[in-house]
């Protein structure tokens, strides 16, 4: 099957969600399989709300979400089976060890014992946690907790990995480990959608970048395509991001 015949890793059409004001306002998004897609935007732009709707944590008011061709609103269980979610706040259990936590996640995603065991040990090794595999998480630093949570998001080998600010609060070493693991996933054919405020990471890792503001997608493309859009061939992503958001504000 050719790449363009494959269903999109994520296809969002006309997505809307309103709290006290519109958080997501008619968003369309198309993420290709095997792509590292970076979603950028100022605070309150609607990035987290969008990703939470894709992960099944929020119900949209309007619109459609399809994950690898599966209607995530009509068949959320099937969509969740192939999706992994990680938020900026690591949600793990203090009283479980990393291995027990991964065993719990494997149980929820119905991963076979032998497969889960091998994957869990590999992940903990890649993330530098193998020495702490049998220690309870209650004494872990924020970085270690985030790495355990990341291992949980990956242990069931999701085809689509959604990460909301996963590098918040990580030191340089931990951030590099996490980035390496994510890059390896993309090389292995996985799809990653990630939000970040660290534009340098987006610049270095992303295949394509989407800029969202006021709940709408205001720009999208590769780094070069975005440079072309603002008419500056050597602009950094930070310059481009600020220029695009400024343009959007002026137009509004």
């Amino acid at each position: 099957m050719r790449q363009d015949e494959c269903p999109a890793a994520l296809e969002i059409k006309g997505l809307r969600k309103r709290f006290e004001r519109p958080a997501v306002d008619g968003l369309d998004l198309h993420v290709r399989p095997g792509e590292f897609y970076m979603l950028l935007g100022p605070n309150g732009a609607g990035k987290t709300t969008t990703l939470r709707m894709v992960s099944g944590l929020l119900r949209p008011d309007e619109g459609t979400i399809a994950v690898f061709g599966i209607d995530a609103l009509a068949d959320p269980i099937a969509a969740k089976q192939i999706t992994g979610w990680l938020s900026d706040e690591p949600m793990i259990y203090d009283k479980l060890t990393p291995l027990e936590y991964l065993e719990f996640v494997a149980g929820l995603w119905n991963v076979e014992t032998a497969v889960a065991d091998a994957r869990a040990r590999d992940l903990l090794q890649w993330l530098g946690l193998e020495k702490h595999a049998d220690e309870r998480c209650e004494q872990f630093s924020r970085g270690m907790r985030q790495k355990v949570a990341l291992a949980g998001a990956l242990v069931h080998e999701p085809r689509l990995i959604i990460l909301d600010e996963p590098l918040t609060g990580l030191d340089a070493g931990s951030a590099r480990l996490v980035k390496n693991v994510l890059a390896a996933r993309v090389r292995a054919g996985g799809t990653v959608i990630m939000t970040t405020h660290i534009l340098e990471i987006a610049e270095r890792m992303a295949d394509r970048i989407g800029v969202i503001a006021g709940g709408r997608l205001i720009a999208e493309g590769t780094l070069d395509e975005l440079r072309g859009r603002i008419g500056s061939g050597d602009a950094s992503l930070e310059d481009m991001f600020l220029a695009i958001v400024e343009q959007d504000l002026t137009a509004a």
Binding site: S55, G56, L57, I77, A78, K80, Q81, T83, G84, W85, S87, M91, I92, Y93, D94, K95, L96, T97, L99, E100, L102, E103, F104, V105, A106, G107, L108, W109, N110, V111, E112, T113, A116, D117, A120, H132, A133, D134, E135, R136, E138, Q139, G152
Partner: protein, 510 residues
């Protein structure tokens, strides 16, 4: 305006925080509900006065020179309240050590931290007093109305007892800190606080049960055996009781002694608090707890995984475990009664049925909150590819498993004594536990497990309805154990309460 860093400045700061915290607690975190809070407090106060009116009967007519049994009963009441106050104060002192929120800011500032801690010890005494005044005040008012203004001396006694309780709490908790260190003190102090709160009443019940064969504390206190062993009627031991009865001299003496003790303890211990708080803040950096041997993954079905996780988390958290299991302490007297009835062929075992049913409801409520609302990895569970209803069912099954493990032995004990009573108790336990778990399900609100102690503030309706359904099922069990068909009507009342709660639950709107 007071100088920054002075005692009064800290007092203003603390009282503002305490006031806002109390408002937030009463309003369950929602703003702009001051009028409802005022109405709620007024209704509660009115209700308590009505309860006091019917409960006290002719007690207001007691004279200034009562007999020994009366003095003993009032002293026992003061000790009972005092043990509850001591328990509350110990918890507050522990929290002062371990709550980091603003301590790091204050300890790193160039102010004298002992002033803050002196204010905090004072605040603990004030809070303990206030809570007791709210609960006992209506009884004093009714006594003053019926028997004369001298009864208002009861307010003075409450203040005196709360000062002594706070001073003792400071001494006990800091002694624990010195002897077993900051790491163990938190749990030990909380368990000690719960034991102190419950042991006095349990001890009295146990003594009553073994001496008179009933659970009546009053009968025990008025027995010849006890009266023969207490001090003479003119002893200073009875000053607090005389103070409560309106004897001005006794009241002044009791207040003076308690105030002196409190001031001495504050002056002596406040300067040490900063050191203890620093030591407590280092606790989390201690050594990690490691499993013995490497864990081998064993993946279960999703529901079994969830049940396993819930039970594991509960077993591994001694603090939560102690908070939940403390209610089982109150089962000791009925358990002893069961043993005594079984050994001597009495009929008092009927009393055990409602106690077991009540305990099941209360236990299930706490455990269901932990499993349903206190889900620390809510996002993970919500994004799992499994119907949420199945996961919720697994959580409730975990709660019922725990209840079965905890109360099963009591039912088995009852089975040896009377199969019919055991059957009634088992049915009541299931109904009571299922009702409490259902209410928690209807009123579920995402929270952290560490917020367990504040779970009641999330929904007052849930808290009260949980208590009312437990009481209704316990009453059903009691009536059924007595062999009356009226149990069916009481059961219908329990079901009606549950149906009524459903009407107000957020689950109805979901």
């Amino acid at each position: 305006m007071s100088t920054a860093g002075s005692l009064t400045w800290f007092a203003q700061h603390e009282s503002r925080l305490a006031w806002r915290d109390m408002l937030s607690m009463l309003a369950a975190g929602r703003r702009g509900r001051e009028r409802q809070i005022a109405v709620g407090v007024a209704v509660f106060a009115g209700f308590m006065h009505v309860v006091a009116f019917f409960a006290l009967g002719g007690a207001g007519r007691l004279g200034l020179h009562p007999d020994l049994p009366t003095l003993l009963t009032i002293t026992a009441g003061a000790l009972l309240s005092g043990s509850a106050m001591l328990s509350q104060a110990m918890e507050s002192v522990t929290r002062t050590f371990y709550t980091r929120s603003d301590l790091e800011l204050i300890l790193s500032s160039p102010t004298r931290a002992r002033r803050l801690f002196a204010v905090r010890i004072g605040a603990i005494a004030a809070t303990v007093s206030l809570m007791s005044l709210l609960l006992l005040g209506p009884f004093i008012d009714v006594l003053a109305w019926r028997g004369g203004l001298r009864w208002l001396g009861g307010y003075g006694l409450i203040v005196a007892v709360s000062l002594v309780a706070t001073a003792l709490a400071v001494i006990l908790t800091t002694s624990l800190f010195q002897t077993i260190g900051p790491k163990q003190t938190r749990l030990a102090a909380q368990i000690a606080a719960a034991l102190i709160g419950g042991l006095f009443v349990i001890g009295l019940q146990m003594a009553a049960m073994f001496s008179t064969g009933t659970l009546s504390r009053l009968a025990f206190l008025r027995s010849h055996y006890v009266l023969a062993h207490v001090p003479d009627i003119h002893s200073a031991v009875w000053w607090p009781a005389r103070a409560a009865l309106g004897d001005a001299g006794s009241l002044v003496a009791v207040l003076a002694v308690s105030l002196l003790l409190f001031l001495a303890v504050t002056a002596l211990y406040a300067p040490r608090f900063a050191n203890y708080a620093v030591a407590a803040s280092g606790v989390s950096h201690g050594s990690a707890r490691r499993r013995r041997g490497s864990h081998t993954l064993r993946v279960r079905t999703a529901a079994a995984t969830m049940r396993h996780k819930e039970i594991l988390l509960l077993i591994r958290d001694p603090w939560l475990m102690s908070q939940s299991l403390m209610q089982l302490l109150y089962l000791l007297p009925p358990a002893a009664l069961l043993w005594r009835s079984f050994a001597f062929g009495g009929h008092a075992a009927v009393v055990i049925v409602p106690v077991l049913i009540m305990a099941a409801g209360q236990l299930a409520g706490g455990l269901a909150w932990l499993t349903i609302s206190g889900e620390d990895a809510a996002d993970l569970v919500l994004t799992a590819p499994i119907a949420q209803s199945r996961l919720l069912r697994a959580k409730i099954e975990a709660v019922l498993e725990c209840i079965a493990i905890m109360l099963g032995p009591f039912v088995l004990g009852l089975l040896l004594f009377s199969p019919a009573l055991a059957l009634i108790a088992a049915c009541g336990i299931v109904a009571s536990a299922a009702s409490a778990a259902t209410i928690q399900l209807w009123f579920r609100a995402q929270a952290k497990r560490s917020q367990f102690r504040r779970r009641h503030t999330a929904s007052r309706i849930a808290t009260f309805s949980e208590a009312f359904t437990s009481i209704a099922w316990a009453a059903t069990g009691a009536v059924a154990a007595a062999g009356s068909w009226l149990a069916a009507i009481v059961a219908l009342i329990a079901i009606a309460i549950l149906a009524g709660v459903r009407l107000f639950s957020p689950a109805r709107a979901r």
